[in-house]
Symmetry: C2
Subunit: 210 residues, 2 copies
Amino acid sequence: MNGRTKISMAVIRRLPKYHRYLKDLLDRDIKRISSKELSDIIGFTASQIRQDLNNFGGFGQQGYGYNVEELYYEIGKILGLDKTYNTIIVGAGNLGQALANYTNFDKSGFHVKALFDINPKVFGIKIRDIEIKDMDYVGPFIKENDIDIAILCTNKDSAQEVAEILVSNGIKAIWNFAPTDLRVPDDVVVENVHLVESLLTLTYLYRSDE
Amino acid sequence: MNGRTKISMAVIRRLPKYHRYLKDLLDRDIKRISSKELSDIIGFTASQIRQDLNNFGGFGQQGYGYNVEELYYEIGKILGLDKTYNTIIVGAGNLGQALANYTNFDKSGFHVKALFDINPKVFGIKIRDIEIKDMDYVGPFIKENDIDIAILCTNKDSAQEVAEILVSNGIKAIWNFAPTDLRVPDDVVVENVHLVESLLTLTYLYRSDE
């Protein structure tokens, strides 16, 4: 745990949002911001913001506010953006290919080294310069290329089996787009993007609003 | 509000997950389930489950448990799955095209009627049988095709302007994939899928675990 105290998931989920808003401020050449001003643009209360940032040592100075650039880099560091990550995409269907094409990840330091699939028809196809490879060889590839993160884009029925293959080959972080919850050992972290669940939340709110 | 009492967002966000697990049970031909058994597979506590479902009138019977099929259809109805939705995708880049290709939405009753973009080079291209059209004509298209939901896949810088065009043409529900928070009138609902924020949550957890 790097000597860190346990931070609640609610706080952790707010950090990337702080990071995004601070980038906007930096782009607008704003140097300092008070928790009150930050509150106005980000929508959390000023006391929530101070409390959140205090979890990591507290960056503000009484009467001065936060140094935008410093806070941006420090939160980036907390989020792990002080290093780059090697990733693979497993499942080279539409979503897997779209994510391989999404150059924003590259800019943030996430390098997609290969896609993997079980369909021989797509082996060798390149998305940008990223090749679709045979899933049978995922194990050696993970080891040789020092892969940190696997992006899981298979269908629901294969997802658990594929996750187990990845974990047995040393993967400790899975970004899961398959519409299922994975069972993994405690030392493996999973972050889900359940698109259909998000869409159903929207329809619920839409119908309730009518 | 359809006479509904206000349900907390935390409960609403759990409903699609219940729906997904109940579908799995139905597929396995399981007819009844107790809140305790549901708790074991879904990971919420049994009392949480009873409390959540009581918000909607309570479906269980003491000593009998829940009727899986009934509960599945009732939750589907609450989520708005008793009707179908016409959608458009705005921004026909990689992500927009991938979502147009994602046939799971169709199966759930979400019909993508068209993609829209501002780049004349892509006008007329079809993804499955869905055409990419000129953004200039989005207004009449929304009206003529009774569009319920807009799926926003533009870049960050265009997102707010595009959202305003959509809203001024009657859109009341936006599924937002652009990495920014939209400002919309109170009667418009927005559900965000912020992919980079999800990825940064994963790297935080991954680094903390080392």
